[in-house]
């Protein structure tokens, strides 16, 4: 489990683990069957899932939260040659939340991956495009 906090207005000072997230990103689809991945997820929050299933397969989730799905494993295999989904899921997260402009990712990915950057940037962009989002119907 890893935590991430984003804030463009104030320095982030809270270093405690996150118990009530706005967004949950599920990299490993088998976790859905094992634990309650949405535990503590705020009402109206978003859950982003790596899955080969259709978005309709998660009716219980979409009743309470925004749901985004992406077959990140397939994209990672096709673009990177390995089933490592971190960059791909990042693309899905950006699509689902709009937290950061996707164009801002190019430089950091170059810095992180060097000669492998182009492949990762492609995986990120594909994931961004292929992510399906089912937004929570606001009541009324």
């Amino acid at each position: 489990m890893a935590y991430n906090r984003i804030n463009q207005h104030h320095p982030i000072r809270n270093r405690a683990g996150i118990t009530q997230p706005d967004v949950v990103v599920v990299l490993d689809p088998s976790l859905l069957a094992i634990g309650k991945v949405t535990s503590g997820l705020k009402d109206g929050g978003t859950v982003v899932i790596n899955t080969s299933k259709a978005i309709e397969a998660f009716p219980e989730l979409s009743e309470r939260w925004n749901v985004a799905i992406i077959d990140a494993t397939r994209i990672a295999r096709e673009e990177l040659g390995v089933p490592i989904v971190n960059t791909t899921m990042l693309g899905a997260l950006l699509k689902a939340t709009g937290a950061i402009d996707i164009s801002a990712m190019t430089e950091p990915l170059k810095g992180r991956f060097g000669r492998l950057a182009d492949k990762n940037i492609k995986a990120l962009k594909r994931a961004f495009e292929e992510t399906q989002v089912k937004e929570l119907k606001t009541v009324g």
Binding site: I12, R13, N14, R15, A16, G17, T19, P108, G111
Partner: protein, 391 residues
């Protein structure tokens, strides 16, 4: 001025060691220090840092190799955590006694048994009397800045003592956060080349590490202690110069919303930032509370600490370490000792929490503060309160 980039604190720390142009790094891998030394090994392997990386067979040998390296005049770095720091224990006293300016990063970790790789301050507190200058950090930027300052402090001709920079394991070491890395030119300008009054070299043979019979041991230790007691002005000067060059200020004791506060919470390390959030919330709710944090743990900044608490009525102290069978938290007992002879002093309430990587959330800090104020009013029944234990 360098760019502000998102980077793991351990990686940034290693990059700071590279900026300082360390000559010798001797280290043994231990969680949660590993990313620091892995990245240093990588920098050396890639030729980006011209240094000798000595992959020793234990922490005891890591610091021993540092003794030899520093004695032979090289700029020397090591990093460790928890059990590793304990295995170095006897070597720590030698480094300070021989006045060898070694820099060590400690990714603070709990001590076995039971085994725990996660963070607390048991390792740091066990080595508090080893004669090292010790600095605590609260975020990644401070880690980078203090590593660079540490080289300059240690090697200053008026100091010549080893320096430990503490960063909380995982809570700090493994967090990716925005950090502004100084440039090579800036660090070069700030950190002069190490000059050594005495080193091991045939051009001027010296004997280092004589034994001292009772008639001279006290003189030798007092000479060392005089050096330690005299370092604070140098540290303040170096931090001032750092602020001038890099725009970030550091003080031995740092205050957050303390002005006019009658009640103060005291923390060290990365928990301080979470505690600030709790202080913000309670202040908004009308609770009289401020936060003070200790950056310079050794030498202990008595004047600054006493000045910071002189108008306070209550001082709530959070320790991340148990002093077994003793007064609960080692920091709290030191603070009490520092205040004992003061005419006007706050009531001290001691808490121990955050052991072995146990989180304390913002709500957890709010509870500590509110419980602490209540205990201060009615009196603490035991030596200290344990935070968040299941009963």
């Amino acid at each position: 001025m360098g760019k502000r980039v998102g980077v793991e604190v351990s990686i940034a720390l290693a990059d700071a060691v590279k900026l300082a142009d360390a000559d010798v790094i001797a280290a043994y891998p231990i969680t949660p220090q590993t990313h620091i030394v892995e990245h240093l090994a990588e920098l050396v392997a890639e030729g980006e840092l011209d240094a000798e990386y000595i992959p020793v067979e234990s922490e005891h040998s890591a610091l021993s190799a540092c003794l030899g390296s520093a004695a032979a005049g090289a700029r020397t770095f090591t990093a460790t955590a928890g059990q590793g720091l304990e295995l170095m224990h006897e070597v720590l006293y030698v480094a300070s006694g021989m006045r060898l300016p070694i820099i060590m990063a400690v990714a603070n970790r709990a001590l076995s048994s039971p085994l725990s790789v996660w963070g607390d301050h048991s390792d740091a507190m066990a080595v508090r009397d080893t004669g090292w200058i010790q600095i605590f950090t609260e975020n990644g930027q401070e880690v980078v800045d203090q590593i660079i300052c540490a080289f300059r402090i240690a090697e200053d001709p008026n100091v010549l003592l080893p320096v430990m920079v503490h960063l909380d394991g995982f809570n700090l070491s493994h967090v990716i956060e925005p950090i502004e890395m100084p440039t090579e030119e800036e660090v070069c300008d700030f950190l002069p080349v190490r000059r050594n009054p005495l080193t091991l070299h045939p051009s001027k043979p010296v004997a280092m590490g004589d034994f001292a019979p009772p008639v001279v041991y006290t003189e030798a230790k007092w000479a060392q202690e005089q050096a330690m007691m005299a370092v604070k002005p140098t540290i303040l000067d170096i931090w001032d110069d750092f602020a001038k060059k890099f725009g970030r200020e550091y003080k031995p004791v740092e205050c957050y919303k303390c002005d006019g506060a009658k009640n103060l919470l005291f923390t060290m390390g990365s928990f301080s930032e979470t505690a600030m959030t709790a202080v913000d919330k309670l202040r908004d709710a009308g609770v009289d509370i401020g936060l003070i944090r200790l950056r310079l743990w050794r030498p202990f900044p008595f004047e600054e600490f006493r000045a910071a608490v002189k108008n306070a009525e209550t001082l709530l102290v959070l320790d991340r370490c148990i002093s077994s069978g003793g007064p609960g938290g080692p920091v709290a007992s030191e603070l009490k000792a520092a205040l004992y002879n003061e005419e006007k002093k706050p009531k001290v309430v001691s808490f121990v929490g955050g052991l072995g990587g146990r989180d304390i959330t913002v709500a957890g800090f709010e509870k500590i503060i509110l419980d602490g104020l209540e205990l201060a009013a009615k009196g603490q029944e035991r030596e200290y309160e344990i935070v968040g234990v299941r009963e």
